[in-house]
């Protein structure tokens, strides 16, 4: 394992020191338990949008803390959802009397830990709601299973609900909006290489030089299928088709297209893939009204990409465009 780290067990704590040092005007970092909180928290009268999850997906979530997006991010150990006390600490540090909305990616660990935190916060008379994001069409949904994962769509929920909260939307409104975004966003990812978790010390899976994982998640868990390596045109089609079929997206739809790097993919390749996706969408009569291209929802150094499509209407477009002032998104 080659990494720019000291002790594997200290990676998250030390990285948080770097985050605190890098962005004093945006955020502060609390320790024991570890929480990233926007600099001006608590903002009185506004809903605190709080998210979090295992570390290793940066800039998700800490890079989205700041005005117009998250009130706090709760970083767990690498690929391990944070504990309830940490989530509760984030709620306590940021809620400004208008309640807190937890944006939870749909993994058993995240759901259970955030659920417990919500119970703990309720005991302290904070109105807390949770919204589960499960946008990954690679996973077949079923009431008998853990269901779909939350991946790239999480960023969409955080940005849009964060904008609404910043404008003073109520907890009810924020919750409804979050559910609306979840209902209109779909993602699918693929990988060329595996990430290496520091405490594991070796790549999470092995791929032959002519293979790729399609339908991959963001935790180094193997994907849905291992298939022969394809061209960019083929890869993008393999990601886009299941997304389009799922919602489904249809001719005439307006969308936000989010072309996401899994961390290790060069920007040159990512933009190339984005161009392909734009072309394929245009061919289907789907209009890309907004786009985001970059490494935003990552899996350590994993090479690969995901596509996320959000069906836009005026409300969502306007909230997407609203000012945001965080380390990773800023406009």
């Amino acid at each position: 394992m080659k990494k720019i780290i000291n002790e594997p067990a200290d990676v998250v704590a030390e990285a948080l020191r770097g985050v605190a040092a890098a962005h004093p005007e945006l955020l502060r970092v609390q320790t024991d338990p570890a929480v990233i909180v926007r600099a001006d928290a608590p903002v009185t009268g506004k809903v605190a949008v709080v998210s979090g999850g295992g570390s290793g997906h940066e800039p998700l979530h800490g890079g989205f803390v700041g005005s117009g997006m998250l009130a706090a991010a709760v970083p767990g150990a690498v690929f391990t959802s944070p504990t309830p006390d940490a989530v509760q600490a984030a709620i306590t540090a940021t809620h400004g009397g208008a309640g807190a909305l937890l944006v939870v990616k749909n993994y058993t660990g995240d759901v259970l830990n955030f659920e417990t935190a919500a119970e703990l916060a309720a005991m302290e008379d904070v109105d807390v709601r949770s919204v589960i994001v499960d946008d990954d069409v690679a996973v077949k949904d079923s009431t008998h299973t853990a269901g779909r994962r939350g991946v790239g769509g999480t960023l969409m929920v955080e940005k849009i609900v964060g904008a609404a909260a910043e404008r003073g939307a109520s907890l009810d409104e924020c919750e409804a909006l979050a559910r609306k975004v979840v209902s209109q966003v779909r993602s699918m990812g693929m990988a060329l290489t595996a990430p290496t978790v520091p405490h594991a010390g070796q790549p999470s899976f092995e791929l032959a030089p002519d293979e790729m994982e399609i339908g991959i998640g963001i935790h180094g868990e193997p994907g849905r299928a291992r298939v022969p390596m394809g061209t960019a045109d083929e890869i993008v089609a393999q990601l886009l088709d299941p997304i389009l079929e799922d919602l489904p997206f249809a001719e005439g739809d307006d969308v936000l297209l989010f072309t996401n790097s899994m961390g290790g993919t060069p920007q040159l390749e990512l933009y190339l893939a984005h161009g392909v996706a734009e072309r394929l969408l245009a061919e289907r009569g789907i209009t890309v009204r907004r786009r985001l291209v970059g490494p935003y929802v990552t899996s350590l150094e994993m090479q690969g990409m995901s596509l996320t499509l959000l069906k836009l209407d005026d409300e969502l477009t306007e909230l997407w465009d609203a000012p945001v002032h965080t380390a990773a998104l800023h406009w």
Binding site: T80, G109, R149, H199
Partner: protein
């Protein structure tokens, strides 16, 4: 001879030791069908439990179990943190404020623990989770307790059944937890949580046996 707070502390220490020893194996199992952290999570949690026990010296079985529960909940994270945490919490509630637990109380504590995991995780037997180790362990514990055996024997029977249950997860297709994302590809691997359950029960049984 019943099971005291000290016995539970000894069992937790034995559990911590076995988890530390099998940390890499559990990581490897989780690497195959999950995200390669189960061994790290459990090791971090049980280390914290032991560190806490040294300073707070719980005086009843329930207090020791509750301490383990709260420390696990606040240090493990992931899926296994709340699940194991709930298991210990429910076990603590089940044993009330008795100073010593007899064999049947031990079996009941185990059952309460399992019910806690089911309540939170909603897994059924065959879903390829720790339930596949816990459920046969509970059955074995109940049967053994009913036959009049002591708590060491109850735990030994539970451990044995848990091992078989864990082993039996190998061919299963996961329907819960992270391995479920793999679909059919999850078959052919032992579930890491079932394995850690079996390891913990073995450690508890050995600690009890050493005392017996």
């Amino acid at each position: 001879m019943g099971c005291t707070a000290q016995d539970i502390i000894a069992a937790l220490k034995a559990g911590a030791a076995v988890v530390a020893e099998h940390r890499d194996e559990l990581i490897q199992l989780d690497r195959e069908i999950g995200d390669a952290d189960h061994g790290e999570n459990m090791d971090r949690g049980f280390r914290a439990v032991i560190a806490k026990i040294e300073t707070s010296e719980p005086e009843t079985p329930a207090a020791a179990l509750k301490l383990a529960a709260t420390v696990l909940i606040s240090t493990v994270g992931g899926a296994s943190g709340p699940l194991y945490g709930t298991a210990f919490l429910r076990a603590a509630s089940a044993v009330g404020d008795e100073a010593e637990l007899d064999a049947s109380a031990v079996a009941k504590a185990l059952q309460a623990g399992m019910e806690g995991v089911v309540a939170r995780g909603r897994a059924e037997v065959g879903d390829k989770t720790m339930i596949d180790a816990l459920s046969p362990a509970v059955d074995a514990a109940k049967n053994t307790a009913e036959s009049g055996a002591d708590s060491a024997k109850v735990l030994a029977a539970a451990a044995e059944a848990a091992h078989q249950g864990a082993q039996a997860t190998e061919p299963l297709v996961a329907r819960k937890g992270r391995a479920s994302y793999l679909g059919e590809r999850s078959a052919g691997h032992i579930d890491p949580g079932a394995r850690s359950t079996a390891l913990l029960l073995t450690a508890f049984a050995e600690a009890a046996g050493a005392r017996a």
